[in-house]
């Protein structure tokens, strides 16, 4: 078989497979396969490769697609999955500022560059179990802003708030978030209010079992804190406020 014949055979085979061949072209291909039986095997291999091509080429094109916006509503669900599967790591300050939800802009006011984390340590003792509750607030707008104080007051309503600590680096929050007080069996809860992400993350251990949940602050902080309290009460039987 010479090169020209090979090319002609391939082109005819392609047209027949793609149903673009004329009757004359189809007859020419059939005649070629009768004369040279190995052409029939090659035609079948081309059919199989074509079948695969028709499936993988659209898939490849889809794989490389760059069109379409990630829907914001899916973020919370997916980030919860990340925390549950890979462990909790906060976003960096730079990133959280970049992605701050629009609903927080009215609270944040003029953007600043200082990140401050305020931590409240609230030990809660009940007759049955001693549960340690730690509350942290990530405030990327700095401690001079008025809203910061208002929100701190709301958090302090959780009662028994002790020392307030400030951090300027997000990795300190990460270290805090991953450091649990006491023995692994110590009942404890961490509540992290991330202002810029507009969410409260709760993680804890109760009777040796871990639990965690993320709450979006959609309406206001107090409302969301009540949801947080209900969640913790469901998990542990403990509330967060003085009776």
């Amino acid at each position: 078989m010479n090169t020209m014949n090979d090319e002609r055979f391939f082109d005819l085979a392609m047209k027949v497979i793609a149903q673009q061949a004329t009757d004359a072209e189809r007859a020419e291909l059939n005649s070629s396969m009768v004369e040279e039986p190995n052409r029939k095997a090659e035609f079948e291999r081309l059919q199989a490769a074509t079948k695969l091509a028709k499936e993988v080429v659209p898939l490849l094109e889809a794989t490389e697609s760059t069109a379409g916006e990630f829907p914001g509503y899916a973020r919370g669900r997916l980030q919860t999955k990340v925390r549950e599967t890979l462990g909790a790591h906060p976003t960096t300050r730079q990133d959280t500022e970049k992605k701050a939800p629009w609903r927080w802009q009215w609270i944040l006011g003029v953007a600043t560059t200082t990140a401050v984390v305020l931590i409240l340590l609230i030990p809660i003792f009940t007759p049955a179990d001693k549960m340690i509750v730690q509350v942290a607030m990530l405030d990327s707008a700095g401690s001079t802003r008025g809203a910061n104080g208002d929100e701190l007051t709301i958090l302090q309503k959780l009662e028994r708030a002790g020392t307030v600590q400030s951090f300027s680096r997000s990795n300190e929050l990460a270290a805090w978030e991953n450091s649990w007080p006491g023995k692994p069996t110590q009942p404890s809860v961490k509540i992290i209010y991330d202002r810029t992400a507009g969410e409260i993350r709760v993680s804890g251990r109760w009777k040796g079992e871990p639990f965690q949940q993320t709450f979006l602050v959609e309406r206001d902080l107090e409302t969301t804190l009540r949801e947080v309290e209900n969640f913790i009460r469901d998990q542990t039987g403990n509330g967060l406020r003085k009776n």
């Binding site: 889809a62 379409g68 999955k81 976003t91």
Partner: protein, 201 residues
């Protein structure tokens, strides 16, 4: 948009995952759409989100960031096919599945890629991801474009030549190279090779 750091993703860095979700969304959405648009268009977004969730579970198995998109696409593909099969099985009664090829019988375009039953559907997730990664590297974009124009868009040699500004004779050469690359990649995957051999019998 640049790919995120794989190491950051594997350690659960929330910011890196935010970037990854934005970067990978077009892929998982487009793949889910490819399979589901004709039958279950309302399920596309749901399958895309579930695919990203599953990717989170599998990210620690990856060795390079280049594997992310093929794996995301593979997960989305297999999830979409499962969704189709489940939905049509449910319609026909528990435990029964319906050939989705049958649903294509009346399709005008004989090359409609939306069939749920496919050569690729039974490939394992990692196998399909590897196949896609290999094809991304081995088929040049112009070869892929010409294969797509001929088999998927139904253009003739002459129309393709005019569209891409090449000689008519070159169209055949590109088609042959593209098909050869796809065939070689298929032959490297035993399951796929088996499928292709079964097709020839």
């Amino acid at each position: 948009m640049n790919p995120p750091s794989l190491r950051a993703l594997q350690t659960g860095d929330a910011a890196a995952w935010d970037e990854a979700f934005h970067w990978l969304w077009p892929t998982v959405f487009a793949v889910a759409q490819l399979k589901l648009q004709p039958f279950l268009p309302a399920d596309i977004e749901d399958v895309a989100i579930e695919s990203l969730e599953e990717l989170v579970e599998k990210v620690r198995e990856l060795k390079s960031v280049e594997e992310l998109k093929p794996l995301a696409a593979s997960i989305a593909h297999n999830r979409a096919v499962s969704r189709l099969r489940e939905r049509y099985a449910a319609k026909r009664g528990a435990g029964q599945t319906e050939s989705l090829d049958a649903l294509q019988d009346n399709a005008e375009n004989p090359f409609d890629p939306a069939s749920g039953d496919s050569t690729l559907a039974d490939l394992g997730q990692m196998d399909l991801a590897r196949l896609l990664g290999e094809l991304q590297s081995n088929i040049k974009p112009e070869q892929r474009a010409i294969v797509a124009d001929f088999f998927l868009h139904g253009l003739s040699y002459e129309q393709i030549a005019a569209k891409h500004g090449v000689a008519v004779g070159t169209v055949g050469v590109y088609l042959k190279r593209g098909l050869d690359a796809i065939r070689r990649a298929g032959e490297r995957h035993p399951k796929l090779l088996k499928e292709l051999e079964a097709f020839l019998r």
